[in-house]
Symmetry: C2
Subunit: 245 residues, 2 copies
Amino acid sequence: MTYELHYWPTIPGRGEFVRLALEAAGAPYIDIARGAEDAGRGVPAMLRTLGDRSLRQPPFAPPFLKDGDFVIGQTAAILQYLAPVLKLVARSEQARAWTMQIQLTIADMVTEAHDTHHPIATSLYYEDQKAEALRRAGNFCSERMPKFLQWFERILSQNPAGDRWLVGNRMSYADLSLFQLVEGLRYAFPLAAERVLSRTPRVVGTHNRVAAQPRVAAYLRSERRIAFNEQGIFRRYPELDVPAG
Amino acid sequence: MTYELHYWPTIPGRGEFVRLALEAAGAPYIDIARGAEDAGRGVPAMLRTLGDRSLRQPPFAPPFLKDGDFVIGQTAAILQYLAPVLKLVARSEQARAWTMQIQLTIADMVTEAHDTHHPIATSLYYEDQKAEALRRAGNFCSERMPKFLQWFERILSQNPAGDRWLVGNRMSYADLSLFQLVEGLRYAFPLAAERVLSRTPRVVGTHNRVAAQPRVAAYLRSERRIAFNEQGIFRRYPELDVPAG
């Protein structure tokens, strides 16, 4: 079965967390909104599905995944759905719940990273909320980023199976998401992120271990990987990169 | 087995979504942080667990639940863990995933409702970010609240089992969470919420159906139910209640 991934075609955004899981597992998928419109793909195809009044379970927003007739949205829910098939989560219910809990905490941090440049409204330009963005980014860099990254460091250090992976002794989708989070933070906040990451060596170690997975490494070199840019969640606005102390 | 719920004792907050599920199912639980300190409960007991270096799966923040030795945080993850035991979710994997997807969208809206009064930093007072709050609340009331509530209306109307409940033909934890969301919106934004809810009659219907469940109704009349107040997620600041159009 070939999965269909539906997400905005020009940014990594939240779709990238799903794409990484598909790529790391070598799963066949079509990136619908990046396809050609004259082949029935592209953004119009994504929006058609999103607005389809015949869907019993219509997603709220991209990213969403189609697996045959089944459609599922919300990044963490998509990953939880895919993970057992892709072998990106342990089998026990408790391990699945713990992996989900970590993923949801990563998602919270992603939302907060986004809101550094859009603290007032996603529908407004950055330039129209820049004063507010400066204040929010200052707090994010000095308080929130250390708090979140130190928690990831802690759960790695308290993992009874060792500090290589977040859950147990195998890579899960949460490790892939942590990799992407660190990539995004380093892109958007190069100074602040390095300051914090220098104190969270286990987070950096897991990031590096993900990047070295053969399928992941090949994907990162491919054209399928979309570069960070100033339309996405992680944006490099130097004025928002405020390392603490 | 008596569950332990750990959450701040003076606000409904995110803990209320878990408490509602426990109450609606008649499940035995102890509200740890609301207990007496000299009985080994209260906020210090919650913080002791949160900081416990021997935990293999330490939660990032309250709310979290203890079920014997198992500890789980993140509201949506807690609910997904509890729901099969409490019979608050259908059995099929696809129904469980759909219920989770709805819950995560409710959680996104809850975060946005919170950020209307704290658009810059949770660690600052409202008064120190009031100008920014006015802008963010205006956008929330005019764009985001209608968008979210219309999606809930749509999924009720597209539910093949009828529009009484969000998933299938039985109440799930997502219905309980939608009830609490509507309660919070009506408290915080009485004018704006009524304006939008007048156009989402199915959402109001499901809300009323939850409130009429005997266990829920008894709980809402009890002292266990914490009233909304200006320390929580949903706060009544009249200046932030800006009905659109």
